[in-house]
């Protein structure tokens, strides 16, 4: 087996011999001709299977070390497709520090369907042991968490899950298989918002699921087709294109983020810096809530926007953006306060990024003081 860089650069190459194409074609055809009754090429209808989408699914399976992959129309569609494995009355254990969209789906969707989520502050075995019941079917984790960057011990939780016959589902969006392969650590299902690092260019919305074990894979395949939240051929192709540079991008994201960490850590306008030591995501708390808005408004290079994982640097304000759907008291309880900013560090020149932060801090401080006056 080749190393990651090689697998990534070669996705879709040698996929067919009719033309020898280096770059895989975008198969837009919705239907496939049958030669005779009962004879199919393996492709019948685009929702069920599409050659372009299959190349993407094959690639993510290889990268995550799973058995089967499923490309979905968004990260949320990927989560919903996984949730379709369960039934009314089932319970999950999930972290309190959770992406707001997932929280919304769990609270507004799952509750209506009779799925119950139990939120835990951390994933220590003691806490898990306390929350588990006969109806518990799965543990759903994000690691590192969004936006507080706490890391869970996947291996330990996987062992716990196995002992209790629970499925372990891991959202691997922040780290990608380059930095973390949850299936190899014992998880059963990995979920990605591929809109983020895998796509990497802020121009495609997509989700991916990779699973291990025939029973789960068969069920997911069936539900993927039945729910129909599948990824389009064009977006599958665009995602493949993005993944070819994943390794290079991640290396640069990480290098830049480590510099940003050092810078923020020393800065007297910053009270805390949250960084798991790997990857390109970092969060920090500004000293004064009144400085947040002038700081964001003063950024000239870094974009103030939702989303993450792209080549361009983004700063997000979880309180009003990604985590707006979480009630304020729960947000405060978990630490997603109104001084917290999440930074998705891009691949720009590090000096330019730090200069931009510095000038924004200077302006925030002067304007913040003016507000007080």
């Amino acid at each position: 087996m080749h190393k990651f860089d090689t697998i990534l650069a070669q996705i879709g190459n040698r996929s067919e011999s009719a033309t020898g194409t280096v770059n895989p074609p975008i198969y837009l055809s919705t239907a496939y001709r049958h030669e005779e009754v009962g004879k199919s090429t393996g492709y019948d209808y685009i929702r069920t299977g599409n050659p372009t989408r299959h190349l993407l699914e094959k690639a993510i399976v290889e990268l995550e070390g799973g058995d089967q992959g499923f490309a979905c129309s968004s990260g949320m569609a990927a989560i919903l497709t996984v949730l379709s494995l369960f039934q009314s009355g089932d319970e999950f254990i999930v972290s309190k520090d959770l992406y707001g969209g997932t929280y919304r789906l769990f609270e507004q969707g799952c509750k209506n369907w009779g799925l119950l989520c139990k939120y835990v502050p951390t994933y220590t075995l003691e806490v898990l042991e306390k929350e588990i019941s006969e109806r518990t079917k799965a543990i759903f984790i994000e690691t590192p968490t969004n936006p507080l960057m706490e890391q869970a011990n996947i291996e330990e939780i996987a062992n716990f899950a196995k002992n209790h016959h629970l499925l372990l589902i891991v959202d691997n969006t922040f780290f990608t298989p380059l930095l973390q392969q949850p299936l190899k650590l014992g998880a059963d299902i990995v979920i990605h918002s591929a809109t983020k690092y895998l796509g990497g260019h802020n121009d495609v919305l997509a989700g991916l699921v990779v699973a291990k074990g025939k029973r789960i894979c068969d069920l997911l395949a069936s539900n993927h087709n039945a729910l129909g939240a599948v990824l389009s051929p064009f977006d599958s192709w665009l995602l493949i294109r993005g993944m070819k540079t994943l390794s290079l991008r991640m290396e640069r994201h990480e290098r830049n983020t480590k510099e940003i960490f050092r810078y923020l850590f020393e800065h007297d306008a910053v009270t805390d810096v949250l960084y798991p030591g790997r990857g390109g995501m970092i969060s920090f708390r500004i000293k004064d809530e009144g400085w947040v808005n002038p700081f964001l408004q003063s950024l000239r290079l870094i974009t103030f926007a939702e989303s993450l994982g792209g080549v361009e640097s983004f700063i997000t304000y979880p309180a009003t953006q990604t985590h707006a759907d979480i009630p304020e008291h729960i947000r405060f309880e978990t630490g997603v306060c109104n001084r917290l900013l999440r930074f998705s560090v891009g691949i720009e020149d590090i000096g330019d990024l730090i200069n931009d932060l510095e000038q924004a801090f200077v302006k925030a401080r002067t304007e913040g003081i003016q507000c007080v006056k």
Binding site: L8, D203, R241, V311
Partner: protein
């Protein structure tokens, strides 16, 4: 604007005038498929009227490449050859071109078979020999055409010197900057007048779009090229323009990786006995190593090497597993090409051999694969050869 000016090249690949769509705040340039645009005022037409003349998505790419090359205006074409042909349309009957002898085969074909039909003459010279260049000048010489490094022998031409010779004769200097891109070399800053690109290569970088780009500095020349682009109409489609823009965002990281890998590979290939010559301007013993370091920030990610014989080459090509054996270059995948039958097939055999492009020469465009994987693949492919040769000398396989 002054802030944008001070950012480094790497940052400006992502944060430039096209960073945000001002209508929606979108961080990715919208693809404007419209072929025509409504006009609100019968007397004063808007900036956009018909997509061949100007299209917002194509304009975004044209602005980005103009900034990257430090020119004043950029033009996007349906292929590298469309960019080159359109630039040559600046010439008229009776004009003369001094052109580098190991020019890309497609350009060779255009100059010898198309331009010649319009009465435009040419002389091939070794551009690295300034005396040769001066000898070739005629009163009617209007263009000096440079590729540096050249394809496929990676010879380096002194762009500043050629540009000043051209200026003193009132002629223009065209530079094909495909191999290096403005990340490494900016010909306009060295005195050239027209920069040409096959954007199919490193600029877009993913083997999935055919495109050409032209950049000029002088506003009068820009108007002339703009007129020709619109008249000839070999413009780039909007989806392709958008794909090139997307590719440019990772140009810096892609090149950094590929160059590092190319250098390691060039050094390793030199140690292999079955390889006779390695051509790469990043090697210290390359005759133009110093010049390359002076006029460019790096040697690029393309190298060529000559095997001991054509039969070794044939075995090698059939044994290598990772690189694609194909025409083109500058992609995320490593591409191995056989110039004699690919990029330079349009050149007659004797002309080709005279230029040193033999039947045992291979060109390698280094992609983003792991360097060790690539080297292992090459070494295995060559060892398989030597076993075969040995077996053959002992009386064949049977």
């Amino acid at each position: 604007m002054c802030e944008i000016e001070s950012w480094s090249f790497q940052t400006k690949l992502l944060h430039n005038s096209q960073k945000i769509d001002h209508t929606s705040g979108a961080v990715s340039v919208p693809i404007q498929h419209a072929s025509t645009f409504h006009q609100y005022d019968i007397d004063a037409f808007g900036k956009y009227d018909y997509s061949r003349s100007l299209n917002p998505t194509r304009e975004a790419l044209e602005t980005v490449i103009a900034d990257m090359e430090e020119g004043t205006r950029g033009f996007a074409f349906s292929s590298g050859m469309a960019a080159i042909s359109t630039a040559f349309l600046l010439l008229s009957k009776g004009d003369h071109v001094v052109i580098t002898e190991d020019v890309y085969g497609g350009t060779y074909r255009f100059v010898t078979e198309v331009l010649s039909r319009y009465g435009i003459e040419h002389t091939f010279v070794d551009m690295t020999d300034l005396d040769d260049v001066k000898q070739a000048i005629r009163p009617s010489t209007k263009v000096f055409y440079v590729e540096s490094p050249s394809n496929p022998l990676l010879k380096v031409t002194d762009i500043k010197a050629i540009s000043s010779i051209a200026k003193s004769h009132g002629a223009l200097t065209f530079v094909d900057n495909t191999f290096l891109t403005p990340a490494l070399q900016k010909p306009l800053t060295l005195g050239a007048d027209v920069v040409l690109h096959s954007a199919t290569k490193f600029l877009s970088g993913h083997s999935d779009v055919v495109a050409g780009l032209t950049v000029v500095k002088d506003p009068i020349l820009a108007d002339k090229i703009g007129f020709l682009q619109n008249s000839f109409g070999a413009v780039l489609g909007v989806q392709d323009a958008w794909l090139v823009l997307r590719g440019i965002k990772t140009l810096h990281v892609r090149l950094a990786q590929s160059i590092q890998s190319a250098k390691q590979i060039a050094q390793a290939l030199k140690e292999i006995p079955a390889i006779k010559n390695v051509y790469y301007p990043g090697l210290e013993d390359h005759p133009h190593y110093v010049l390359q370091g002076k006029q460019a920030k790096g040697a690029g990610a393309v190298l060529s090497f000559e095997l001991a014989s054509e039969s070794i080459l044939r075995d090698f090509v059939s044994n290598v597993k990772i690189p694609v054996f194909a025409v083109s270059l500058g992609a995320v995948e490593s591409i191995l090409s056989y110039p004699a039958k690919m990029s330079h097939a349009a050149m007659p055999d004797h002309e080709r051999e005279k230029r040193g492009i033999s039947n045992s020469l291979l060109r390698l465009s280094v992609g983003l694969e792991n360097t060790e994987d690539l080297l292992k693949d090459f070494k295995t492919a060559l060892t398989a050869n030597s076993h075969k040769e040995k077996a053959f000398h002992r009386g064949g396989w049977q």
